[in-house]
Amino acid sequence: MRLSDKTCAMAEAVAAIPDGATVMVGGFGVPGTPFALLAELARQDKRELTLIKNDANETGTGVDLLIASGRVRRLITTHIGLNANAIAAMNEGRIEVEFCAQGILAERVRAGGAGLPALLTDIGMQTELSAGKQIVQVDGRCLMVETALRADVALIHADRADPFGNLAYRATARNFNPPMAMAATTVIAEAEVLLPLGGLAPDEVETPGVFVDHLCPMAEITEEYGVVRR
C-alpha cells in the first residue's frame, strides 16, 4: 500500500472555489497567514466571500487584498484593529462583521471539525456579544449556545508537509491553522517545505493528512511572510 499524492498547483486548487464560498483562513497577524493562497484567491477574482479569520491582517496584505477590493461580503473575526481599511469597510456597511470571543471562535471551529453541531459556554454572556443567542439551562446554570463553524474551504499555512497532506507548523504560526484544517469541506494547505512521504515522522504530524485535500508547495517565501518593521 501507499498513501496518495495530493500535491497540486495553487492556481488549480483555488480554481475550484466558487463565488459566494465560505472560506476559513488560518493565521494570527503574519504568522500562519497563507498569503500565497490569499493572493491567488484575489488573482482569480473570487467574489461574495464569507471569511472566517482571527483578524483582518494589516492594510494592503493578506485578507485585506480581498476586503479592499470588495470581494468579501461577510467576516467572522475577533479583532480587526490593525486594519483601518477593514474597520472603515465595516463602519460604512460595505462588509458585515460578526465579532466572536477569540477562544470561542477557536472552539466553534474545533466543534465544526469534530462533527459537533454546537457548544455551550458562559463566555461573553455579560456582553453585547450575547445578543440574539439562545440560552439553555444545564445543571441549573444558564449557558449560551454557540453554533459550530464549518466552511466550504479552509486555507492553511504549514511549515512542513508531505504529499499526503500531513502537516507540521512552526512556533506561533499554529494559532487557528490546526483547528481550521479539520473544519472545511475542502482543505487547501500551502507548505514552506515539502518533504517526501515518510520525511515527516508520524510523531511530528500535527494535522493528519486525512483532513487535507490539496497540498500546495510554496514556490518562494515572499516578503509579506517576513518580519514586519513598524
Partner: protein, 227 residues
C-alpha cells in the same frame, strides 16, 4: 537655591513607577497573561531568574523578552504583534488549546488595560461606540476566566476624566471581574464595599486620589503605604 524654594520630590516617571509596582503583583510560579500595551512593560521588571510562565493567547507558554527586528523570528510573536523570544521549556500550541488553558483555570493572573472600571469590578476595555470598535480579541475570556484579574491604567483619561467609576458607561468586557487596579496615582482594590485605597504613589496625597476617582473611595484604618 534656598531651602524654601526646594520643589517637593515628585516621581520622575509616574508610569514607570506604576509598572514597577504592578510587577510585584506577580508571585513566583504563576502563569500570567499580560495584556497589550502598558501591561507588557511589566516584563522589564521580571529578572532572568524569576520563576514565572508568561502566556500569550496566540499560542505560547514561556514567553521571553521581546527582540529587535534584526533578531526576530518571523513565526514568533505575542498577541500584540511584538517579536518575542523563547525561554528554555517554553511551548507552542494552537488557539483552541491556548484558550482551553484560560477557561479551565490554569491562568493564575491577567493584567489588562481599561477604558473604565466600575466599583463592582465591571470592566470596559474593548469598545467605544462610534469611535473604536476593533473587536474584543481574547479580552473577554481573559477577564472572565483568569483566576485573578488586575487592571493597569492611568487613573484618568487624556481629558482628565476618572476611569474609575460607579458604573461603566461603555460596553462591558466582563462583569464583576476586576480585583485590583494599578494606576499612576494609587493601588486600589475592588471590595464588596467598592473601591478601597491600598497604596498611594510617592508624592500623591489621599485627597488627590479621592478627587481623581469617580466613585466613593474607602480608606482602610491606619497609614496608607506609598510605592
Amino acid at each position: 537655591m534656598s531651602a524654601d524654594k526646594i520643589v517637593p520630590l515628585k516621581p520622575a516617571d509616574p508610569r514607570g513607577r506604576m509598572v514597577a509596582r504592578a510587577a510585584r503583583e506577580i508571585a513566583p510560579g504563576m502563569v500570567v497573561n499580560l495584556g497589550i500595551g502598558l501591561p507588557t512593560q511589566v516584563v522589564d521588571h521580571l529578572g532572568p531568574d524569576f520563576p514565572v510562565c508568561l502566556h500569550t493567547e496566540n499560542g505560547m507558554a514561556g514567553v521571553g523578552p521581546t527582540l529587535p527586528h534584526e533578531l526576530a523570528d518571523r513565526n514568533l510573536i505575542d498577541a500584540g504583534g511584538a517579536y518575542v523570544s523563547p525561554i528554555p521549556g517554553c511551548s507552542y500550541f494552537d488557539s483552541a488549546t491556548s484558550f482551553a488553558l484560560v477557561r479551565s483555570g490554569r491562568l493564575d493572573l491577567t493584567m489588562l488595560g481599561a477604558f473604565e472600571v466600575a466599583e463592582n469590578g465591571d470592566l470596559a476595555n474593548w469598545k467605544i461606540p462610534g469611535r473604536f470598535s476593533p473587536g474584543a480579541g481574547g479580552a473577554i475570556e481573559l477577564a472572565q476566566k483568569a483566576l485573578r484579574v488586575v487592571v493597569m491604567t492611568t487613573h484618568c483619561d487624556r481629558k482628565g476624566n476618572p476611569k474609575l467609576k460607579r458604573r461603566c458607561t461603555l460596553p462591558l468586557t466582563a462583569a464583576g471581574a476586576v480585583m485590583r487596579i494599578f494606576t499612576d496615582l494609587a493601588v486600589i482594590d475592588v471590595t464588596p464595599a467598592g473601591f478601597t485605597l491600598r497604596e498611594c504613589a510617592q508624592g500623591v496625597s489621599v485627597a488627590e486620589v479621592t478627587e481623581a476617582t469617580g466613585a466613593p473611595l474607602h480608606l482602610p484604618e491606619g497609614d496608607i503605604p506609598t510605592f
